[in-house]
Symmetry: C2
Subunit: 296 residues, 2 copies
């Protein structure tokens, strides 16, 4: 405890009471709080959010909490990487002010029973395959907002659907938080950074590169006019299917970036569309997406 | 609009933007806000909440909004009494500071889709007969909390289950609101005040008195030891059934005041129990409850 309580100027908070006292004090002092909610196992994607927050707010709080409510039965909650010490070493040089790292029973004490659901948006794409996922995300994010009282909260666009759902929840429930989205950060070879990339064997990782390859190739095709949007799914799958370790393509197509409805020949000229993919490489579920601009 | 914009010092606010600006300003000035959420058609029950709030806070906001989300299909949303002008005349002499009276599409703009659910507690008692009710209550109360930022919010114990659900939601979601419950206010003849009493014919109203009669008689019996708690339901129903306009007894029994589980011979010595009733007098649904102290 002592060891991690203070690291330079970075404070580690483990209880809701202490975190609330701090956020109330900051609010009283007129200091703006930026929140970066994470499940730890931090990579450059997370760190880009932290940098944005440090840049735009008086105080940056990074929460680290592997949220059981957003994992379904048979998903990887138990094996999800927990690397608190390394995470803190990555956060310290970025001038993170506070790491909020509560234990599970602090966030979900016995008898916890309140659930937030953003309907419609939560049923689409990942939601169709992970039925409890976005309800768990919405619920824990609301708790984190109430505990840390951020003016701004930062989310990466790799989890595009998540950003859309959180924005919708904030709007619907009249929360006083500005949801800031930041670009997907990729490895040099194009693979979108994800804490789950650690699960991949080197063979699986090679095939995982097909995701970004498919997205960028079909994006270019659509923008150049050589691929029509209603052929997007077919073209994405053609590329993905060349990977022998791609075991389950859950979705791969062109979607309305606001409703997440699949685009079937509808006119999107003058707007943007979303190409999005979820699949399994071996047993590891990976997602990625890219925005296609049809302003031509 | 002009006519109701200012009544003495009482301000009427109709938009979320204006209400939020005001509550943010009050918060900045360090003034405590008390919120009394209502659906209008105000009676002495509501006014007792307003008096409590005025007494305990710098500023009292009374919200008046007939919340469609808490009415099920076939319930009385359309005919629910709307008496804004009379309501304001009742609120003015109590030194109410603000009436927040938004239109429906202000609270639920097109595409609204976020829902809060307090599981388990919401399935019991009234929830078993009104499956969407408490989700609608939890959702609108969350919105009102986010819009008005109260330090304290006031609810009447006539809606006992509602108070329990809101307290649970506040705890589970780490909201910064103290939920204050106030006693049920009754007519001189014992009928619990309710905006729905207006629906009753004089014959139905006579029979409705059996509710309080049953509750007080069985309470006395239990406290004196002449009625055992597992006979509570039978004894309540015996009395209620003497009313020819009592058409549907939805529940009438003794319950654990924390879990709302029916008490079936369990020992509650040293604790309190809840006697609660829901029934229809004619077509009008009425509820009431009373606390029984077993400290003997």
């Amino acid at each position: 405890m002592c060891e991690k309580q203070e690291k330079g100027k970075m404070k580690v908070v483990e209880t809701i009471k202490e975190m609330k006292e701090m956020s109330n004090r900051l609010s009283f002092e007129g200091k703006s709080v930026g929140l970066v909610p994470t499940m730890g196992a931090l990579h450059e994607g997370h760190l880009s959010l932290v940098r944005a927050s440090v840049n735009e707010n008086d105080v940056t709080i990074v929460s680290i909490f592997v949220n059981p409510m957003q994992f379904g039965q048979g998903e990887d909650f138990d094996q999800y990487p927990r690397t608190l010490q390394e995470d803190m070493e990555k956060l310290l040089p970025l001038n993170t002010d506070v790491v909020f790292a509560p234990a599970m029973d602090i966030i979900y004490p016995e008898g916890f029973n309140t659930h937030i659901e953003v309907r419609k948006l939560s049923d689409k794409l990942c939601g169709a395959f992970r039925p409890v996922h976005f309800g768990g995300v919405a619920t824990v994010v609301t708790k984190l907002f109430n505990i840390t009282k951020p003016a701004k909260a930062y989310f990466g666009l790799k989890d595009y659907q998540q950003t859309l759902i959180i924005k919708k929840m904030v709007k619907d429930l009249n929360m006083d938080v500005e949801v800031i989205t930041c670009p997907t950060i990729r490895e040099k070879d194009g693979l979108a950074m994800s804490s789950r990339n650690k699960y991949l064997t080197s063979e699986e990782r090679k095939d995982a590169l097909l995701i970004n390859k498919a997205l960028t190739k079909v994006k270019r095709g659509i923008e150049e006019g050589s691929i029509s949007t209603d052929k997007a799914s077919e073209k994405l799958r053609e590329i993905l299917c060349t990977g022998s370790h791609i075991t389950d393509i859950q979705y791969a197509s062109a979607y309305d970036p606001e409703t997440l409805e699949e685009i079937n020949g509808k006119s999107f000229v003058g707007r943007s569309i979303l190409l999005a993919i979820a699949l399994k490489a071996g047993k590891t579920r990976l997602i990625d997406n890219i925005s296609v601009n049809l302003n031509r």
